[in-house]
């Protein structure tokens, strides 16, 4: 029983991103940073029923100084093409 968009992925626009690293501070469960300070976000979708994760994803989106992040709703938890 899957509804249309019951999963989400956090996505970063790599051109906008300047590596402030706020997303890693705000959503450490979802975002790792590489050695240059740019975010590594996994393609794996998270269920929207995990409210803590969704909340920190929202915090990361709002806390990005470059507004490079957004939450994308996807249909299943399968890996989505980039």
């Amino acid at each position: 029983m899957t509804r249309r968009s019951d999963h989400f992925v956090l996505r970063v626009d790599p051109i906008l991103c300047d590596g402030f690293g706020h997303c890693h501070e705000l959503a450490p469960e979802l975002v790792q940073v590489d050695e240059w300070g740019y975010p590594i976000i996994h393609d794996q979708a998270t269920s929207t029923s995990e409210l803590a994760l969704l909340k920190s994803a929202r915090l990361a989106v709002r806390g990005c100084p470059r507004q490079a992040l957004r939450i994308e709703r996807v249909t299943s938890h399968s890996e989505t093409p980039r």
């Binding site: 996505r11 626009d13 790599p14 051109i15 906008l16 991103c17 300047d18 590596g19 590489d34 050695e35 240059w36 300070g37 740019y38 590594i40 994308e72 093409p81 980039r82």
Partner: protein, 424 residues
């Protein structure tokens, strides 16, 4: 009129100078209205020759489904690969064949404008295209052709960077989260097609999909242009049927028959071990070996050369050619070049450098807005497997004889500013 199954096809009538419109029509027959082109194009299974190998008919269908009358067709003859010469050779031989194909495709998607993009580095090619466009203008009819001459950079030929140039005079790739993505020039949907692909379309419209498929393999039909350089008698551009064994391509080019390795696809391509010369030149047979047809490039590296040194020079140049919009590419590629240099010339902890290099490859993979970093990572990863034994020698500190000779095989342009690689 040409109807044979034999090669050459797009290079037919090569005479050392571009064919004029009259000579072109005498050679290939007059241009036909492309009424049945959509079906023929799909049946032909033509794949783009610019490097991504995307099926052209799918791209065309995507654009046909767009609304509006102001679509634009962009002919991409930027040829960003320094070792690639196929588009330039094509445009200085049969410019009208590529323009014919562009005209058919424009009619098919309903575009009234065709932007022909040639890098301003080659003034001779710009001149040839200009003359061809003047001839067509005098003849009248057809869409409006406009010549654009963006500056030559590696990433300038990437389709979103090219469209960015047409919009804002900046040769920077754009971020496209959804793929397939329809690019826009102004507000008009744009179809970006490689110049060689256009030439094949020009032939398919004349002689049909059945004729096109008589050469090549079922999954990669037709012929393709290959730029062969490195350890060859002289660098050439050949037209070969897809699926030809690599050995016979090398023989035709007069190359070293027993090379150490081949660079396939271009700077963003992959190395292929010299023992796989019996593999067919097509993506379905090269991909299991880790190699690719890419932009139609083969560079022959003979035995005795140092594959690590060749890779390091390429990666250093590619790092410099990054448009530096995305952090993983702007910082990651110089880091890869630095690691390769450390392996090459010796470092305090070569094992650690090798481990770090592999880690950095997996970190950078897939994190740019365009495929530029992915291409470099693929090249480095293939070098680590193909030259594994030799890299082991470098790590253990045994001397490399190739480093004492100045001879290098892959042509890499000189860096304009070496200091550009230093980031504050």
């Amino acid at each position: 009129m040409m109807r044979d199954v034999t090669l050459p096809r797009v290079m037919w009538g090569a005479s050392g100078r571009p064919l004029t419109l009259r000579e072109h029509e005498m050679t290939f027959g007059a241009a036909k209205a492309g009424a049945a082109l959509a079906g023929e194009l799909e049946a032909s299974g033509l794949m783009g020759r610019g490097g991504a190998n995307f099926t052209t008919s799918k791209k065309v269908e995507l654009l046909r489904a767009q609304r509006g009358h102001h679509k634009v067709l962009v002919v991409n003859a930027m040829e960003g690969e320094p070792v690639g010469h196929k588009d330039r050779t094509l445009l200085s031989t049969n410019p009208h064949l590529a323009l014919d194909g562009a005209q058919y495709l424009a009619a098919l998607i309903g575009a009234r404008r065709v932007a022909v993009c040639v890098s301003r580095k080659d003034s001779a090619i710009v001149h040839h295209v200009q003359r061809a466009l003047h001839e067509r203008e005098r003849r009248g009819g057809g869409p409006e052709f406009i010549l654009h001459t963006p500056p030559w950079r590696y990433v300038a030929g990437e389709e979103s960077a090219l469209v960015h140039w047409l919009n804002d005079n900046e040769t920077m790739p754009q971020y496209r989260p959804q793929r397939p993505h329809v690019l826009h020039v102004g507000r008009s949907p744009a179809l970006v097609v490689n110049a060689e692909t256009c030439a094949h379309v020009g032939l398919i419209n004349r002689f049909g999909a059945h004729w096109f498929r008589e050469l090549g393999t079922p999954s990669s039909p037709g012929s393709a242009l290959v730029s062969v350089s490195g350890a060859v008698r002289r660098p050439t551009v050949l037209e070969v049927a897809l699926g030809t064994p690599l050995r016979s391509i090398l023989r035709e080019a007069g190359a070293d028959p027993d090379p150490l390795a081949l660079l396939t696809g271009g700077y963003g391509g992959a190395w292929l071990d010299g023992e796989h010369l019996d593999a067919a030149y097509s993506n379905e047979s090269l991909q299991p070996l880790g190699a690719t047809v890419g932009a139609g490039i083969l560079v022959v590296v003979p035995r005795g050369a140092c594959g690590l040194a060749e890779t390091q020079r390429i990666v250093k140049w590619m790092a410099n050619e990054s448009s530096r919009q995305c952090g993983p590419c702007a910082f990651g590629l110089p880091a890869l070049a630095e690691d390769l240099g450390a392996l090459l010339h010796g470092a305090r902890d070569p094992h650690g450098v090798l481990v770090r290099l592999k880690e950095r490859c997996s970190v950078i993979q897939g994190r740019g807005a365009c495929r530029h970093p992915d291409g470099v990572v693929r090249l480095v990863a293939s070098a680590l497997t193909v030259f594994a034994r030799h890299i082991e020698d470098h790590v253990s500190g045994s001397p490399c004889e190739a480093l004492t000779t100045p001879r290098r095989w892959v042509a890499v342009p000189a860096l304009e500013h070496e200091s550009e690689l230093v980031w504050e």
